[in-house]
């Protein structure tokens, strides 16, 4: 226990570190306030386009694969807030491969905090704030909104964000082993998002194992949907266990890759 704490640092210190990173990132993006608001509302409108699509389609044909409009919107709320939260807190998650490839990890290796957490949290993605807010807006507009449901939604969005960040970081970390992993990482992002945003039932039984293993849409969207539709906190517990497992696996892969890292001998600074 003592050895583990000494290697990684105390959780309280890391919480303080993450909150300081978060505040600095917010201050940095708020320097361009008009741009920030434009991107946030642009992203919310962007997401709303799909609400129109589903509204029109389900209005014409009724439920699709057993999913009504409220179910599809709940999936959108969960995935959007989870994806947003992952990129708000860990804004570098989709640049990790590029940072490794360019040999820019040197800067983080010299700092006392854990390299992976430090790299991931050193930036926030502006448009992700729109995704983050969109989920709450949708949840508030759906029937049955109450404080208990909001608390469950927040917990599920948190576990979903961990699964998102862990999976995307793992795909980017492949860069340590294969050089350029941008193609694989891009495909993982696209596939994970696309499978998470559509009803699970339309893909058939044969694909279900994919959603609970390499592309964990199940733990981002489908298990959380069951939790919100009646299974409640026990289902949220399953999502939390999955989030921990994916985070640990992703962290392990990064540490394993880090041993193969070669410095870019670059001079750099974090301002």
């Amino acid at each position: 226990m003592h050895r583990a704490t000494r290697r990684f640092g105390s959780p309280r210190a890391y919480l303080r570190f993450l909150s300081v990173s978060f505040v600095v990132n917010i201050q940095s993006v708020l320097e361009y306030r008009a741009n920030f608001l434009l991107q946030v509302f642009g992203m919310m409108l962007n997401n709303a386009a799909f609400a129109l699509f589903w509204g029109m389609l389900i209005g014409k044909v009724g439920a699709v694969g057993g999913y009504g409009f409220d179910d599809v919107m709940l999936i959108w709320a969960l995935v959007s807030t989870s994806f947003g939260l992952a990129h708000v807190v860990f804004g570098n998650v989709r640049s990790l491969g590029q940072i490794i490839q360019r040999g820019e990890l040197d800067l983080y290796l010299l700092q006392p905090k854990d390299v992976m957490l430090n790299v991931l949290s050193s930036r926030t993605l502006v448009s992700a704030w729109g995704d983050f807010a969109y989920g709450f807006l949708v949840l508030a507009l759906l029937p049955g909104f109450d404080p208990g449901r909001l608390a469950l939604f927040c917990a599920l969005a948190f576990t979903g964000a961990l699964v998102f960040a862990a999976t995307l970081a793992a795909a980017e970390s492949l860069c340590f082993f294969i050089g350029d992993s941008s193609g694989i990482a891009g495909a993982v992002t696209e596939f994970l998002l696309s499978f998470s945003l559509y009803p699970e039932t339309i893909f058939g039984q044969g694909m279900r194992w994919v959603f609970y293993t390499i592309l964990p849409s199940g733990f981002i969207a489908f298990v959380p949907l069951s939790a919100l539709n009646g299974l409640g906190w026990p289902a949220a517990g399953i999502a939390a266990c999955a989030a921990l497992a994916y985070s640990a696996a992703s962290y392990g892969l990064f540490r394993l890759g880090l041993r193969r890292y070669e410095s870019g001998n670059q001079m750099g600074s974090r301002v």
Binding site: N35, G42, N46, A187, Y198
Partner: protein
């Protein structure tokens, strides 16, 4: 010897007009060649790294697959929706996504040129800024669209059944419609990119534009829109950008109706050219170049 040699003798009026006309044609030919070369170089650059198509092919195939599943589930207990069968809806989506995917990403390069100041360098060169970008963008996009069309045809055969192209006229109309839709994509994205002269980060405008294109005719045929929305959509360029080519490919509306769709596309194309030129002229007056 008289001073009036052949070189100074005035040509008869008819000959002079012909020579002038020849000069204009030659100059126009030279100009067209200049942009043709720009387009060709861009197309060659695109084919230099065949591996770079993989990401686009994967994303396009993923969307086609996901939407084929959505339409299969939506038509589980019915034969058609608004007259479109399952096979037609899948082919519709395959065709509608070609202009969106193949010609849909000019904005990022253009916006980057604006932000990096590259615009100042290109604006001073001896070619039309709009024309050069059009040739360059379309050269690359034509390669992308051709690759996606081939992939789409293969996916369609697997997921929806035989290719719905019934005659050479049908094929020609589909090709013309896709090319006009692609050109409109370029021109409208160019006009949006020019807003960077006023607002530094204009990506939100592009997202909104992209989603309007998606909703009005790409994800769904416009027959699926509510009556009021359909009437409004008819007054916008968006049905010309995906709906027209996808409708022509997936369910041949007959020669007359196809020509009417293409004529409407051409009218919107002319409007887009004017908008594009106006946006560039207005924006250029705000350009400030500081040494370098």
């Amino acid at each position: 010897m008289s001073g009036r040699g052949l070189g100074t003798r005035p040509l008869p009026p008819a000959c002079s007009r012909a020579a002038a006309r020849g000069g204009i044609i030659a100059a126009a030919g030279l100009k067209a060649r200049k942009y043709g070369v720009a387009g060709l170089v861009s197309a060659r650059n695109r084919t230099a790294y065949m591996g770079s198509f993989l990401g686009d092919i994967l994303s396009y195939s993923l969307f086609v697959f996901v939407f084929s599943r959505v339409w299969t589930a939506a038509l589980a207990d019915r034969i058609d929706i608004e007259g479109y069968s399952l096979s037609q809806l899948i082919w519709y989506f395959i065709a509608a996504e070609i202009p969106a995917f193949g010609f849909g990403r000019f904005f990022w390069t253009l916006a980057q040129d604006m932000k990096s100041g590259q615009v100042a360098y290109l604006a001073s060169r001896p070619f039309s800024f709009v024309g050069y970008h059009f040739a360059q963008g379309m050269g690359k996009a034509a390669v992308d669209a051709s690759v996606l069309a081939a992939v789409g045809a293969g996916l369609g055969l697997l997921l929806a059944g035989p290719l719905p192209i019934s005659s050479p006229a049908h094929a020609a109309a589909a090709l013309a419609s896709i090319l006009i839709a692609g050109s409109m994509q370029f021109l409208l994205q160019f006009a949006i990119a020019m807003t960077a002269f006023w607002i530094e980060d204009n990506s939100a405008f592009f997202w909104i534009y992209q989603k309007l294109v998606l909703i009005v005719g790409t994800l769904l045929p416009i027959e699926f829109l509510p009556e009021a929305a359909r009437r409004i959509a008819a007054w916008t360029p968006f049905p010309s950008m995906s709906y027209a080519p996808a409708r022509i490919v997936s369910s041949w509306p007959g020669g007359g109706a196809a020509l009417s769709l293409i004529a409407s596309q051409l009218a919107w194309l002319a409007a887009a050219v004017l908008l594009c030129q106006a946006a560039y002229r207005l924006g250029r007056s705000r350009l400030t170049v500081n040494g370098g």
